[in-house]
């Protein structure tokens, strides 16, 4: 085995992590992102990191990449011009959407009217109709189809999506339109809704298919460009992209089904956390990925992340599996303010972003931010990024003072107030994925990463009761680490919609076998050796009539042994845990899912040499922080010099190239054998 390179392109930095699969040794590098053409920044990084490791780019076997290219195409409306063909009478399916207006009563007054992802002028309807039972009610009028496709051709659409009513029950009309479109608009890619998402609910199916079509050319161009540039550097390794659900897919497959990489970015951190957890012996983890403008949180139980059936991008909810990552508008750049009317202290969601950024960065920012509060309190010492970057503490103080004055409290209390509020916002997001899902956060460790995660992880762990608080090795490039260490994955879903009483295990097993064969074939086609593929299954159950299903993992063997009753007993238990009650209502088996996975890589982490437990060799200097309402002495350490087993009493600050870990008073950090800092109550 050789080298795996994980690359995560963020808004400000491109992070790289090169992993030696033999030794577990790794090298990391951060380089400015190049938004006009990301491959430029990536290549800069590849050259630099190969130099650090002393290898040639040709020695890299796998290039594994998390990217927000698809996300941004949707958010910024820069996807392809998509023509939509739908059933007569449903022209406005995307315009009306689900009629939902956010913001509660009177929220409509301030809600901007959204533009549909497929423009109305590029939406045509055709005659022909299927019933909900999948029977043809009216035949497809092919002359009409050709005429309508002609309209789209005249409009110059770059992609065509066909989404007809009840196509989930019978896709024959869609398939025929697909054939005609291939003749009428040669070279224009066509997506059919019954292929992309064979599920009921016309808006969600149409949106998902349109989103797929809209980002396809963008992702295609991106991948082709990247592939060429990498080849130019002599890279011959396999290129794979990170899916929203935390698995990998080949770049070719991602080009066809880009809807699966819409949330590729945040998924990297979660898969990175799993790798860290496996090596640290921690199996239940809440993740806290704190960036400049927002924080992503996710839940990992027994080293498996929670997944959901939808991917949320902006105001759109696309039906594709994704890790259940919740985002709150709370990050280092979040702005603190005091509205005149209520005199309450608010932090975010407005952010100073990268430009102008926090006051302390000295790039022209004037509004007090979370980072400024951290600087004022002494949590962020004045040298960042290995000392190349000086923070403006006096500027930060002046900005936070404006908040203090508005609240009528002193500077330090105001700064700590800002930190407490932002921590509380993160806590709120963590509750949504833990307590609200029936999990007790005290059974989980909390792992903080991203630029500012390790600064907040100790305080948030205290709120949650989630110990230890973990500052993983290289928290600043954990997403790239996740890209490098996860495995291939694909999945398929099918509607079953049958009462449990009318179902026998053999039927279910037959369908599951068929789905397993389909997903395994996909991975084989992607170059995964058959012997390495593992299959997993899930079944969604609910009380008949409910809208919400509980997913349960099963295997054909368990199904044979315990029968349908075994599934239902587990459902009742889970329902009670989530919602506090059970019902006598019959159970419905709603959906079946099969997942095929490539081999789980047993990638070890490199061990640190053992120390004596005394960290003083890593001490940089003495320092002061404001904590528990007073100034107290603290020590700053250099993370690179810490050894396994070192015990660091709080308050203390641990610095490294791209991140800073804060250990609070009353807590103690222990360096584990692979370099993670585990913080517990003293």
């Amino acid at each position: 085995m050789g080298y795996r390179l994980g690359v995560d392109v963020g808004g400000t930095f491109t992070d790289l992590l090169l992993f030696d699969t033999e030794t577990g040794a790794f090298w990391r590098h951060k380089t400015p992102s190049t938004p006009h053409d990301s491959s430029e920044g990536i290549l800069n990084g590849v050259t630099a990191i190969c130099g650090k490791a002393g290898i040639a780019a040709s020695q890299i076997d796998f290039f594994l990449h998390g990217t927000t290219v698809a996300t941004n195409a949707v958010l910024e409306g820069k996807g392809a011009r998509v023509g939509l063909v739908t059933t007569e009478g449903f022209r406005d399916v995307m315009q009306i959407a689900r009629s939902f207006v956010p913001g509660g009563l009177a929220g409509w007054i301030i809600w901007p009217k959204p533009q549909p992802l497929a423009a109305l002028e590029d939406t045509v309807t055709v005659k022909g109709r299927m019933s909900a039972e999948g029977e043809e009610v009216r035949p497809l009028d092919e002359a009409d189809v050709r005429a309508q496709l002609g309209v789209l051709k005249g409009n110059g659409v770059e992609a065509v999506t066909v989404s007809l009513i009840n196509a989930y029950a019978n896709g024959a009309h869609e398939a025929r339109i697909g054939q005609i479109a291939a003749e009428a608009l040669p070279g224009v890619p066509v997506s059919l809704s019954h292929e992309v998402l064979p599920e009921m609910q016309e808006y969600e199916r149409t949106l998902t298919t349109v989103a797929n079509a809209a980002v396809r050319p963008v992702v295609g161009r991106y991948v082709a460009n990247l592939r060429n540039r990498l080849a130019g550097e002599g890279m011959v390794g396999k290129l794979s992209l990170l899916r929203s659900d935390g698995g990998l897919m080949s770049a070719q497959k991602a080009e066809e089904h880009p809807v699966n990489i819409l949330m590729s970015g945040p998924a990297g951190g979660v898969t990175g956390a799993i790798w860290v957890g496996r090596n640290a012996g921690i199996r239940n983890i809440l993740t806290l990925d704190v960036g400049g403008t927002s924080t992503d949180v996710a839940l990992i139980e027994n080293l498996e992340p929670r997944r959901q059936r939808t991917t949320e991008v902006g105001h759109l909810s696309v039906r594709a599996s994704a890790l259940d990552v919740k985002t709150v508008g709370a990050g280092g750049g979040s702005i603190a303010y005091v509205p005149e009317l209520t005199r309450a202290l608010r932090v975010g969601p407005q952010s100073a972003g990268a430009v102008p950024g926090p006051v302390a960065y000295g790039k022209g920012g004037t509004a007090p931010t979370v980072t400024d509060a951290n600087v004022v309190l002494g949590y962020l010492p004045e040298n960042l990024l290995g000392g190349t970057f000086q923070l403006d503490r006096e500027g930060a103080k002046a900005a936070v003072q404006t908040v203090a004055d508005a609240l009528g409290i002193d500077l330090m209390a105001a700064a700590r107030g800002i930190i407490d509020i932002v921590n509380e916002n993160m806590f709120g997001a963590l509750r949504m994925i833990s307590v609200q899902q029936g999990y007790d956060p005290r059974d989980f460790a909390l792992m903080g990463f991203g630029g500012a995660g390790p600064l907040h992880v100790n305080a948030v762990a205290r709120l949650m009761g989630s110990w230890p608080a973990v500052s993983p090795v290289s928290p600043g490039v954990l997403c790239a680490l996740g890209d490098a260490t996860t495995r291939m994955r694909t999945e398929t879903a099918r509607s079953f919609s049958r009462l449990a009483t009318e179902t026998v295990p053999e039927e279910l097993i037959a369908v599951l076998d068929e789905m397993a064969a389909q997903t395994r074939a996909e991975l084989i086609a992607d170059g995964v050796p058959e012997a390495e593929i593992a299959s997993e299954f899930e079944v969604d159950v609910r009380y008949a009539g409910q809208a919400f299903e509980v997913p349960l993992t099963i295997t054909p063997d368990v199904l044979r042994a315990d029968g349908i009753a075994g599934i239902l007993a587990r459902f009742d238990e889970e329902h009670k845990r989530l919602f506090t009650f059970n019902m006598d209502t019959p159970h419905e088996i709603v959906n079946l899912r099969a997942v095929a996975l490539g081999r789980a890589l047993d990638l070890p982490a490199a061990e640190l040499p053992a120390g004596t437990g005394d960290p003083s060799a890593a001490r940089i200097r003495d320092h002061e922080v404001w904590m528990e309402g007073r100034l107290m002495p603290a020590v700053i350490y250099d993370r690179a010099k810490l050894l396994a087993g070192d015990v660091i009493p709080g308050p203390a600050i641990v610095c490294e190239m791209d991140s800073t870990t804060l250990i609070e008073s009353g807590c103690v950090g222990t360096v584990d054998r692979v370099g993670n800092i585990l913080i517990d109550l003293a």
Partner: protein, 632 residues
């Protein structure tokens, strides 16, 4: 006699100093608890009205019953004043009778549960939630007979009772209630869901109090109320003048041939207090369109509209209630006397928001939106499924539709979207799968949004094809009195309903009808109103009007309301447009602040010709006239 609260720990909560940060943290924690209530409900409820459309409302209150988080305001204080019994740990109240709670819920379809939350022997909070049940028995399917003359015709009425008593579940009570409905399965699941939501919130309150201390938690809730009071006091002083302003609007009819019914509200400020007086509102109806408006609920609506603009992050609560004085005449449409029928209250409830907008907008342009929050269109369809293989199985559908959102200072109103908080439409494929119907059309109605610089949102033209014989009922409004435009914007188009038989003949159906028989193959065109326009339509960019012709949101004919001359492909004739605009400008006077259309008299005269329906007859209230004469 007021309620007796049984506490095993009589020590009162102490008011302690709260630092602003702790206060904000508790505020956020309560906000999260409320979001959790919604999530729990939607996931476990079964009736499409709640699980697909979200017709349910939560709240968390302090021990005195004041709402700390929620959106429809608290009725608890009124309930406590009238509850002649005890409340203790392990109790839970269940009710649905509007007359027992001063109209805090406004028709019997809304089932409400109230959970007093005790911690260490002391009452520390209430959690409560109500949700619309799809059927509670009574004379018609869906239990909202527009032609009811008393509440006794509108299904089961549940006075406040203990569904849980000191930890013991009253199963007999629930069996008795469930026996009254046509859909006991939906009702049982939805009731469970309401209870689960309240319990989840109660658990959160106890966790918060444990984390910060009971006294800190309690003091924080009081401070949140006080903060809201201070904020509203400032806002009212700025935004409401001492000089009275009035606004009035109409409910088109009562479904029995009479209408329109006037709702009038006058607002003025006296020192710190704002008076909202509904004097001039018509007396109650003999049918079911009465809306028993709870004063506190109206204060909440008013406050939300005020605060939305100034600090949308603020948590709405009951703190400002003593700054508002709401006066509603007894025996009026908004405070009918028992046992007046109430089930069709949705039209007046919606209209209240239009009135609020018009009232506030007269003096504060940032509030001035056009009309469109006008009703909540309902369709009921029920019968036995006669299709082969369906076993003649009973089905019943209750579906809420949407009109167009009004033109706003911010921009155009969204087409076919919901003004009701949290509501969504039902997927058409879901309807076709579970009901004997096919949806032939689900599109916006072109030109239905009122013309304006900012166009009103279009209403929806939905065509149902019924696949089994059955009966339908329709409740809608804004078919006679149009949704008004503002600042020069035109009114939106009115609602229409057309029944098309298999042989191609069509009949106009009323907008409030009960139990109309339909045959398999019949099509119902259910067309909702459009939102009113905002600003001068002659100022709208002609290119945008041309684009909306291509998008079929506006027709070439409709474009003339904007002074735009274009063909049916959206190609604009600039010279002709300029000429038409000049001509229209010359021919009109100063732009009115409100454009109500031609007025009631003219609407009445043209009604039959324009709508295909007879004009509603002016209702008369002999007893009111007699009283007036006696007074003179």
């Amino acid at each position: 006699m007021p309620a007796t609260i049984v506490q095993t720990n009589a020590v009162p909560f102490a008011r302690v100093e709260i630092d602003p940060v702790t206060l904000d943290i508790i505020e956020n924690a309560l906000r999260n608890a409320r979001i959790e209530m919604d999530a729990t409900l939607v996931r476990t409820a079964m009736s499409p009205g709640i699980r697909e459309q979200g017709d349910a409302f939560p709240l968390i209150a302090d021990p005195a019953g004041k709402m700390i988080v929620g959106q429809f305001g608290s009725f608890i204080d009124g309930f406590l004043q009238n509850w002649d019994g005890t409340l203790e740990d392990g109790d839970m109240i269940f009710l649905s009778d509007p007359y027992s709670v001063g109209g805090a819920i406004s028709h019997s379809n809304d089932w409400l549960v109230l959970l007093p939350v005790f911690k260490d022997g002391r009452l520390i909070a209430y959690t409560s939630m109500f949700g619309h049940q799809s059927d509670i028995g009574g004379k018609v399917v869906g239990s909202m007979p527009i032609n009811a003359h008393s509440i006794f015709e509108e299904g089961v009425r549940i006075p406040p009772v203990k569904i849980w008593k000191k930890g013991e579940y009253n199963e007999d009570l629930v069996r008795l209630v469930m026996h009254q409905t046509r859909k006991p399965d939906w009702c049982a699941a939805d009731l469970n869901a309401l209870i689960a939501s309240c319990r989840v919130a109660a658990r959160r309150v106890i966790e918060i109090a444990t984390r910060f201390g009971d006294d800190v938690y309690y003091s924080a809730t009081q401070e949140l109320l006080a903060r809201n009071h201070r904020a509203m006091k400032t806002l009212l002083g700025q935004a409401v003048s001492e000089e009275p302003v009035s606004f009035e609007d109409y409910i088109c009819d009562d479904g029995m041939g009479y209408g329109p019914y006037r709702i009038r509200c006058t607002m003025w400020r006296e020192g710190d207090r704002v008076v909202l007086d509904f004097a001039g509102t018509d007396p109650q109806s003999a049918a079911s369109i009465n809306f028993y408006l709870n004063e506190n609920m109206f204060k909440m609506f008013f406050g939300i509209y005020m605060i939305m603009v100034f600090d949308p992050q603020i948590l709405f609560n009951d703190g400002f209630y003593d700054l508002i004085d709401v006066r509603i005449p007894e025996g009026s449409l908004l405070k009918p006397r028992f046992p007046a029928a109430l089930s069709g209250r949705t039209h007046a409830l919606g209209r209240i928001f239009d009135i609020l907008g018009g009232l506030l907008g007269q003096k504060t342009p940032e509030f001035l939106n056009a009309a469109g929050f006008s009703s909540s269109p309902h369709l009921f369809y029920a019968g036995n499924d006669t299709r082969p293989g369906k076993g003649n199985q009973w089905f019943q559908l209750f579906q809420i539709g949407f009109g167009g959102i009004p033109g706003r200072p911010l921009g155009d109103g969204p087409d076919g979207h919901s003004l009701w908080p949290g509501f969504t439409n039902v997927p058409n494929e879901f309807l076709e799968r579970y009901f004997p119907m096919r949806i032939e059309r689900y599109e916006t109605a072109p030109d239905s949004g009122g013309a304006g610089l900012h166009r009103g949102g279009n209403g929806i033209h939905m065509t149902y094809r019924f696949l089994s014989a059955g009966t339908i009922s329709i409740h809608d409004d804004r078919w006679f009195v149009p949704p008004w435009g503002v600042n020069g914007g035109h009114p939106g188009a009115r609602a229409r309903k057309v029944l098309e038989k298999a042989d191609g003949t069509s009949t106009i159906v009323g907008n409030k009808v009960e139990e109309v028989a339909v045959e398999a193959g019949d099509q119902l065109h259910f067309i909702t109103w459009g939102g009113g326009g905002w600003g001068d339509p002659l100022d709208r960019d002609p290119a945008l009007v041309g684009k909306e012709i291509v998008q079929r949101l506006v027709t070439a004919e409709g474009a003339r309301a904007y002074g735009v001359v274009a063909d049916s492909t959206g190609v604009v004739d600039p010279a002709a447009t300029e000429a038409l605009r000049a001509k229209l400008r010359d021919g009109r006077g100063a732009l009115p602040l409100f454009d109500f259309g031609p007025g009631i008299v003219a609407l009445r005269a043209a009604c039959e010709a324009e709508t295909g329906l007879p004009a509603p007859i002016q209702p008369e209230w002999p007893h009111v006239l007699a009283a007036q004469e006696a007074a003179e």
